[in-house]
């Protein structure tokens, strides 16, 4: 077992970064915590600080103001960290990619491990994405 597998073997803690989004992806991520989906049964927990997170969830297109903050967060994160881009905006910029404040999709700014497309992706899709990432 490599060091990376060892780090992600047990409960994953998630940190959520909402960029310039329409809020829907944010809500769907929160939805994963609520009774119907209940990610906490897998030991996943949304945490308040990147410093004790294993996974960084990024949704929304990233605008010029967010870019430096996202970089800063990534630098603060304990490594190894898994980065998941959520939603059409996170993956490519989606409908906002032509906007005048758009600063590039997430993978242009920080390395991304998994993409979960959809606008917004259903909570099932978010769960499936993270589980797939773990089994990789």
């Amino acid at each position: 077992m490599g060091f990376k597998e060892f780090c992600f073997k047990k409960s994953l803690w998630l940190f959520h970064f909402g960029g310039a989004s329409c809020n829907n992806c944010d809500i769907e991520i929160l939805d994963c915590l609520t009774p119907r989906y209940d990610v906490e049964r897998f030991g996943m927990l949304l945490v308040g600080s990147i410093r004790h997170a294993d996974v960084l969830l990024v949704n929304g297109s990233i605008n010029q103001r967010d870019k430096s903050r996202l970089l800063e967060l990534y630098e603060q994160a304990p490594k190894p960290i898994l980065v998941v881009a959520i939603g059409a905006c996170g993956c490519t910029g989606g409908i906002f990619a032509e906007g005048n404040t758009f600063a590039g999709p997430v993978d242009k700014i920080i390395p991304v491990d998994a993409y979960i497309p959809g606008c917004p992706p259903k909570p099932e899709a978010i769960l499936a994405g993270i589980v797939k990432l773990l089994n990789k």
């Binding site: 310039a20 989004s21 809020n23 609520t34 929304g60 103001r65 409908i95 906002f96 404040t101 758009f102």
Partner: protein, 396 residues
């Protein structure tokens, strides 16, 4: 002299799902002043909209805000239809209202949940969001997506609600009504919730008028404004319902207004469903060839208050100018009244009480050069630019 402490909340704070920055200036535990900063969420929607056709713009305005993703298309449709003098069919009106009211229910439930979470009542959070799921299932059945429904278009709606779907909608709403009774009971009778929300974050009637607040925030302070009554659109003039108000203006009153409004929404939907049965299936849109040059304004009552869209058309198939004003834009200013003088622990719930939505409210004030980081435009220069564009359009 007491020293003032600055407490920043945000921009990426676990309390909020959206990025925004609040600065609380406190003396001891009391909040003395508050400032907020946005811009983390700016996507340039008005500008993007001018590059798209009317049909495409609907998908864009839907994504101004994901939670009230019907109210923006609603107002936009009203604006374009006013510009183009289009009258839609009754069936389309009913469908629009049904989707709008379902959205109000899910948005209010979402707020109740989050408010519970902010108070440290995670049970309320879990309950409210659990009851919200069947409503989202209805959306999935009607439109194919849980959020962002893509139901609207100029001249009508994209998808019909066939008559065979009506019983399922009714059944879900009946079940939900019982759940809502439970939720209302839990909030109204709980002594701890009373203690935490009564007398907190009070906005008087005068404050509401001074700050031009709208929606449930205004109605909780006894100002009975509601676009659905004041300037009826879609199917609202065809059904019976009443505007819910409360007098106290505190957080509790705001919760009360929202909880009781959900019953009104259910009743509106039920009447609309009855109306649907009388109309012929499939008559959901009128064909629109082109939109003449001119302008139109449209509003709609979003779950948070009045959404306003202005569209300037030049005879082509895309808006020449598109202006959006979302309810949170005025509601957020009331923080200056509701939070000051509160303790820090009450400030969070006072902030949450207006159900602020920052992705709607985003404004840009200053532009920076992308590469050098140099400031290139300030507010006045931006205004001058905008004025120049208007005069260009005028002379065209």
């Amino acid at each position: 002299m007491v020293k003032k402490t600055l407490i920043p909340i945000g921009p990426y704070h676990p309390l909020q799902e959206e990025p925004e920055l609040f600065k609380l200036y406190c003396e001891g535990e009391i909040v003395k002043d508050i400032k907020w900063e946005t811009g983390y969420n700016h996507r340039g929607i008005e500008q993007l909209s001018e590059k798209k056709t009317f049909d495409q713009s609907f998908f864009l305005v839907e994504r101004v805000c994901g939670i009230c993703s019907t109210s923006h298309p609603f107002a936009f449709a009203n604006a374009v239809e006013e510009a183009g003098n289009i009258e839609i069919t009754n069936r389309a009106k009913y469908i629009r209202s049904i989707v709008g009211e379902l959205e109000r229910i899910h948005s209010h439930l979402l707020w109740v949940g989050l408010a519970g979470h902010f108070l440290g009542y995670n049970t309320v959070f879990m309950w409210a969001w659990k009851y919200r799921e069947p409503i989202l299932d209805l959306f999935e059945m009607i439109s194919g997506n849980r959020n962002s429904y893509a139901m609207f278009k100029v001249g009508g709606v994209r998808r019909d609600i066939e008559n065979n779907k009506i019983p399922k909608i009714k059944e879900t709403l009946d079940k939900f009504k019982k759940k809502n009774d439970l939720l209302v009971g839990a909030v109204m009778d709980d002594p701890v919730i009373h203690a935490r929300t009564k007398g907190v974050g009070i906005l008087t009637k005068q404050d509401i008028i001074d700050y031009a607040a709208v929606g449930p925030t205004a109605r909780a302070s006894g100002v009975a404004i509601d676009v659905r009554k004041d300037d009826p659109y879609a199917a609202y003039p065809l059904v019976n319902w009443k505007v819910i108000t409360a007098e106290k203006g505190d957080v509790f009153a705001k919760a009360e207004v929202r909880l009781l409004e959900m019953y009104e929404s259910i009743s509106i939907i039920e009447q609309c469903l009855e109306g649907l049965k009388k109309e012929k299936e499939g008559e959901i849109e009128v064909k629109v060839k082109n939109i003449a040059a001119g302008w139109g304004t449209g509003h709609a009552e979003a779950p948070r208050g009045e959404v306003f869209h202005y569209v300037l058309t030049d005879g082509s198939n895309s808006p020449a100018r598109h202006k959006i004003r979302a309810p949170s834009y005025t509601n957020i200013a009331t923080f200056k009244k509701s939070c000051i003088g509160q303790t820090i622990s009450d400030a969070t719930i006072s902030l949450a009480a207006v159900d602020p939505c920052y992705c709607c409210t985003e404004r840009m004030a200053v532009a920076y050069d992308w590469k050098t980081g140099e400031r290139i435009l300030n507010g006045n220069e931006l205004i001058a630019l905008s004025a120049e564009k208007t005069s260009k359009l005028k002379n065209k």
